[in-house]
Amino acid sequence: MGTEALLTRSNHLTEEDFAGIAESHAHELFRLAFRMVGSEHDAEEVVQETLLRAFRKRKQFDGRSKVSTWLYRIASNCAIDFLRTRKRDRLADRDQENTPDQVPSLGRSQELLVHQKELVTRLGKLMQELTPKDRLALVLRHYQDCSIEEISRIMNIKPNAAKQAIFRAVHKLRKGMTQGTP
């Protein structure tokens, strides 16, 4: 059932409605959280905190934005809070622990595959070095496919600032990759 239908039935999201939303959005929230915090365990914590906060605020959701935009906004805050409190050395350790071994095959030679895997691993680490806001803008645009307007609503910034954050993120990543190439 769509959000509009849920809100037509009652003026706010009920516990039952929210249970359905939590279930159907958990995967995408996890992906967003993981891209932000870089660790599976921490991402699960962020998802849990997001759902808790959203549940408490469910009566404030008026249906003017998409449920996903509303949830992303809360998840973004949770992830940024999480990053603020987490120690940097713990972050680096977890990055290594949680980078999955399997990288999608490119269908090239084995050597190229190894090289590609190294590049992807490096890129994943560089992403964690971006500022939380730049990373969030990039994650929302590149991976979650949010429009600039949605990003500006989620991050509470102007559309131009959202564009700038995306540009900065890509620029820094490319620069980081170039510097790392022998």
């Binding site: 959005h25 958990a26 993981f34 605020k57 809360i74 805050n77 980078t99 590609q116 509470n156 490319r174």
Partner: protein, 242 residues
């Protein structure tokens, strides 16, 4: 367009957010150098797509929902304990009220102080008594609330904030009239009010109330009070902000 496209323009073009898409496309069609740069950028974006995310099992959504409701249930229990402590505080506020009213009666019967000082002290005691009544009402109301409604939470927080302001005003007045008992009483009350008023976390307008840490801290302080007979060390400097 006579100049080459900037990195920013190419990135925004890739994401379909450039200001002038047609001009950019036309330039790319005519300029092999920019086309080369854009092609490299596309490869990089493809690499970005390959940064992996662990796959969660199909029932992850269901498990997340179950975990959420289990957590909500678990949080409801400490809240019940928190309510219990609020009742304790409501009782304590009543005792404080009785104490202040007692002082009021005592002053009226056995005072030997100058009239102006008596009047100022009496006005203060009267005002403090009303302040305590109001605080007691808030604590009782809070103890009777489940706090699942953010509006109610915000309401109690605002109420507590207002009471902190009143509390500080009365403390200043008590300092002027050198009413040490009242000063001590208001100091202790302020700690509780601040706990309630500060149960907020604002970031992108997201609010939380009250945090588990704040509840735990309040419970811990009340436990200390029960053991030592006082809430905090009065000699210890405190930095508090509303």
């Amino acid at each position: 367009m006579t100049r080459h496209l900037s990195e920013e323009e190419l990135i925004l073009h890739f994401y379909g957010t450039s200001d002038d898409r047609e001009t950019t496309e036309r330039h790319l069609a005519l300029c092999p150098q920019c086309r080369q740069v854009y092609s490299e950028q596309e490869k990089f974006m493809d690499l970005l797509n390959q940064v992996p995310v662990p796959e969660k099992p199909a029932d992850y959504g269901q498990r997340a929902r179950q975990r959420l409701f289990a957590e909500l249930e678990a949080q409801a229990k400490p809240r019940a304990r928190f309510s219990h402590f609020l009742w304790v505080w409501a009782g304590a506020a009543t005792l404080m009220l009785a104490f202040v009213l007692g002082r009021l009666v005592e002053r009226e019967s056995i005072h030997t102080e100058p009239r102006s000082r008596l009047v100022s002290g009496r006005v203060l005691d009267d005002a403090v008594a009303r302040h305590l009544e109001s605080t007691q009402r808030m604590l009782v109301d809070l103890a009777n609330t489940t706090h699942t409604d953010p509006e109610e939470q915000a309401f109690h927080q605002n109420w507590a904030r207002q009471l902190v302001i009143d509390n500080r005003f009365f403390r200043l007045a008590a300092m002027e009239s050198e009413s040490r008992d009242v000063i001590r009483l208001l100091d202790e009350l302020e700690l509780v009010l601040l706990e309630l008023a500060h149960g907020s976390h604002v970031e992108f307008e997201i609010e939380e109330y009250p945090t588990q840490e704040q509840v735990s801290e309040l419970i811990l302080r009340i436990r200390i009070m029960k053991r030592t007979g006082k809430l905090s060390d009065p000699d210890q400097p405190r930095l508090v902000h509303i």
